[in-house]
Point group: C2
Chain length 413, copies 2
C-alpha cells in the first residue's frame, strides 16, 4: 500500500523551520510496510490544500497531513477538510471538557472562543483524541483514500501516530512487508565501492533495491525489499549482505542499528562496570552532550571538562606547562594528559580527550586548520591518534565527533 | 516569481535522513524575493522525477532539484534530465581535469569509470561548477521554466546556491521584494495572544500575512509581505509591529534575529571584556556545545565542567558535602556553588550553572521530574531560579537550554 505525506505551513516553505515531522512519519510508516510515495509541503492557503488533497485522491491508500490545526485564524486545515468532505463541524463535549482541564492546569485562564472552536469537529470524522493538546487528530475516508489530519507540534503529532495511526493503519490495510537494512562502511569512496561490488549490484533481484548514502568518511549501503513475509525478506537481505564481505570486508564496520553509537558504547560501559568521562577542547562539550541527551546516561557517564581556553587545560585538567610548551596544545602528549587529567578529576574508568583546531583560523597552537588529536584511555588500553580533516569548521566538528565515537567503540570491543 | 523545490531520494521518504536541504533552499530563495510554492520530495525513480518535472513545467518560473547526481547506479537525475530536455550527454574536459585533481588529492586512487561519467553533462546546460565535489550543478530552461539540478550533499549544494543560483536568479528574474519579520513573545499561549490582538489582525492589509509559531513557552509572530520595494514593506511591517506593544507589550522580547541568541551573548561578553564558563549537570554539556559550535567562541568562552555524577560536583567544582546534604543536589545553593566553582576553576567572569532532573525517573536528588535550577553570576549580579518544566526529557532539556540562554541574556543587558 502507498501513502502520501502532506505538511502544511509557510514556515517550512520559507525555511524558518526544518520539517522533521515528515521524517518521523516516513520512518514510522515504512516500519509497518507502508510505502511513502511522496512528501508534499504546501502553503497554508485553502486552494493549495484542496489541490494537494485532490492530487492524492484515489492515487494512494492513505494521506497523512500535519499542521494547520491550531486555534488561530491562520490555521485552516480543519475548515478546508470540512469543505473537501462536504461535511459540517459539530460540537464535541468530551473534547471541550478536556480543553477546559488543560486550561485550568497549564494556562490558568478561562477558555476563550478560539479554543472553544477546537471542540468543533467534522461530523463524520473518527477523532484521534489528543491528550497532550487542544487540536484533535481526524481520520476520514473518501472513496479509495483515507485522510488523516494531525497537529504540527511534533510532540503531539508523534503521540497521535504511535497511539492511533499506526494501529489503525495496520488494522485497516494489513500492509505488505517492507524491509530496510543498512550496512556501514568506512574508508572507501562510493565510486570505489561501486566498482568493487559491480557484478553483485547488477545481479540484485528486482524486488530489492540498493542505495549508496555517503557522508564524511563513511558510506552506508541500504538494501530495501518488498514482499509478503518480513522474515523471508530479512533472510534474503542478510544473504546478500554476506556476499559483500569477500568484496569489501575490510571496510565494513557493521550494520546501522536502531541505537545510535553512543548508546551502544553506554551498553558496553555498563557491561564492564566502567564510567566514562570526556575532556574536550575542540569538540567543546558536544561529546558530553551526545551522551547526556539520553535518559539513563548517569549509569555510565560521570562528567566532562571542556577546556576551551589553554588556561583551563592547565588549571582543571592539570596538564603541565612543560608538556604544552614542548609539544603545543594540539599534540598527542597533551591529548593523553587531558584524558588522564579528567580520569583523576572525575574518578571515571574510561576517558576520551580531544584537542585540535577546527578552523576557520589558526588558534593558540599554530596547528594546521583541521588537525585534531584524539586520545582514548580504558583500564586495558591507551590510544592516541592525530587526524587532518579539512578546512571546514562544521564538517570538522562532525568528523571529530564521529571519529571519537568510533575510536571509543573499537577500543572497547 | 514562484519556485518549486524538488528533493529526490528514498532516504528522505523512509525517514532515514531529515531533509535540511529544502529548508536551506527555502530560506535563500525567500531572501531574494522568490516565493516557494511547494516542496516536493520524491522517490529516485525515473517516472517519479519526470512526473514531478512535468507538474512544475510552466506553473512556476524556477524549479530547484537536489539529489541523485552521484556517480553510482542509483543516481539517475542527470540521465532523467537529459531525457526530459531531449538532450544528450557530452564530455567536458575541464570537469574531468577537476575530478582527476580531487582524486589525486583526497582519494589517492586513479579515477574509475563511474567518476569519469561525472564529466559527461547535457550539451545545452549551463554548468554550475562544483569545486567541492565531482557532481556539477546544471541550469537548463524549457519553455517558461528554468530547472536547476544540484547535488544532495548539503555542503556542496549550499556552495552552488550561494555561488551561482542566487546571483543567476537575481539576474534572470529580478524577483519582487518579499519581506518576513518575526516578533518573539514569551509567557502567553497563542489563543490568548490572538484574542488580545484580534482587531489588529482583522485589519491587516491584504498583502501582509500573519502566522503564529508556538514552541515551548514562546510564541513567534511572523508577518510576511510582498510588494515592489523592500524598504517600504519593512517600514510597513515595523509600524504594524509597533501597534502590538500597547496590546501585548509585556510579553514581547524582541525580534528574531539572524544571529542565534548564543552569538548575541558572545557579542555582549566581548563588549564587556568578559569570559564565560558553564557548570552543567542536567544540561550535560549542551550549553557549552551551543557556544563552541561557532567559530570565534574562544574569544569569550573559557570552558565548562559537566558534573553529571554527584561526585564530580564535589571534586571538580568544590561544592561542599554539607550544602549537598542540607539542600540536595538539585537546589539553589548547589547551583550557585557550582557557578562559583567553575568561575574559580576556569578564571572566567560570567558563569551559568544548571542542576535538575529532566526525567524520566527520579535521580540522586529525589527532586520532582522536570525540576531545573539555573544560576547566573556576572561581575555585577547574581541570580538563581527554580523551574518546573514538565514530564518529558527531550522537551525539558530544550526548555532548560532556552531558559539558561534567556537568563544569561537578560542578566547581561
Amino acid at each position: 500500500m502507498q501513502a502520501d505525506i502532506i505538511t502544511i505551513g509557510d514556515e517550512i516553505l520559507i525555511g524558518q523551520i526544518v520539517d522533521t515531522n515528515s521524517a518521523f512519519l516516513g520512518k514510522e510508516l515504512t516500519k509497518i510496510g507502508v510505502e511513502v510515495r511522496q512528501i508534499h509541503t504546501i502553503s497554508d492557503k485553502k486552494e493549495c490544500i484542496i489541490k494537494a488533497l485532490q492530487s492524492a485522491q484515489n492515487k494512494v491508500d492513505l494521506v497523512v497531513l500535519t499542521g494547520g490545526l491550531g486555534p488561530t485564524k491562520d490555521d485552516i486545515t480543519k475548515h478546508t477538510f470540512c469543505d473537501y468532505f462536504e461535511d459540517t463541524l459539530v460540537f464535541n463535549q468530551e473534547v471541550m471538557t478536556h480543553i477546559e482541564t488543560l486550561f485550568k492546569k497549564y494556562v490558568k485562564a478561562p477558555v476563550n472562543d478560539l479554543n472553544r472552536g477546537q471542540a468543533m469537529l467534522p461530523a463524520s470524522c473518527r477523532i484521534l483524541f489528543n491528550h497532550h493538546g487542544t487540536a484533535m487528530g481526524m481520520w476520514m475516508k473518501k472513496e479509495q483514500t483515507v485522510f488523516v489530519s494531525l497537529p504540527g507540534v511534533p510532540f503531539e503529532m508523534k503521540y497521535l501516530v504511535n497511539e492511533y495511526v499506526v494501529p489503525m493503519v495496520k488494522a485497516e490495510f494489513a500492509p505488505p512487508a517492507l524491509v530496510n537494512k543498512t550496512m556501514m562502511t568506512y574508508g572507501l569512496g562510493e565510486s570505489i565501492i561501486a566498482e568493487k561490488i559491480e557484478s553483485w549490484e547488477t545481479n540484485l533481484p528486482s524486488h530489492i533495491k540498493l542505495a549508496y548514502l555517503p557522508n564524511l568518511g563513511r558510506v552506508r549501503l541500504r538494501l530495501s525489499a518488498k514482499g509478503s513475509s518480513e522474515s523471508l525478506l530479512l533472510k534474503e537481505i542478510d544473504q546478500l549482505f554476506k556476499a559483500l564481505y569477500p568484496l569489501i570486508g575490510d571496510n565494513i564496520t557493521g550494520f546501522e542499528s536502531e541505537d545510535p553509537i553512543e548508546l551502544q558504547i553506554g551498553g558496553m560501559l555498563i557491561k564492564n562496570g566502567w564510567k566514562l568521562a570526556t575532556a574536550e577542547s575542540c569538540t567543546g562539550g558536544s561529546l558530553a552532550a551526545l551522551f547526556t541527551q539520553h535518559a539513563g546516561a548517569s549509569a555510565y557517564f560521570n562528567g566532562s571538562v571542556v577546556s576551551y581556553a589553554t588556561d583551563a587545560k592547565k588549571e582543571i585538567l592539570q596538564v603541565s606547562d612543560e608538556i604544552i610548551k614542548e609539544y603545543s596544545v594540539v599534540s598527542e602528549p597533551v591529548a593523553l594528559a587531558m584524558a588522564k587529567g579528567v580520569l583523576n578529576q572525575t574518578g571515571a574508568d574510561v576517558a576520551v580527550a580531544t584537542t585540535g583546531n577546527l578552523g576557520p583560523t589558526k588558534g593558540d597552537s599554530g596547528a594546521e586548520i583541521g588537525t585534531v588529536v584524539i586520545a582514548v584511555i580504558t583500564p586495558e588500553k591507551e590510544l592516541v591518534q592525530t587526524f587532518c580533516f579539512g578546512k571546514h569548521r562544521v564538517r570538522n566538528l562532525q568528523k571529530a565527533l564521529n571519529k571519537s565515537l568510533e575510536l571509543l567503540y573499537f577500543e572497547m570491543l
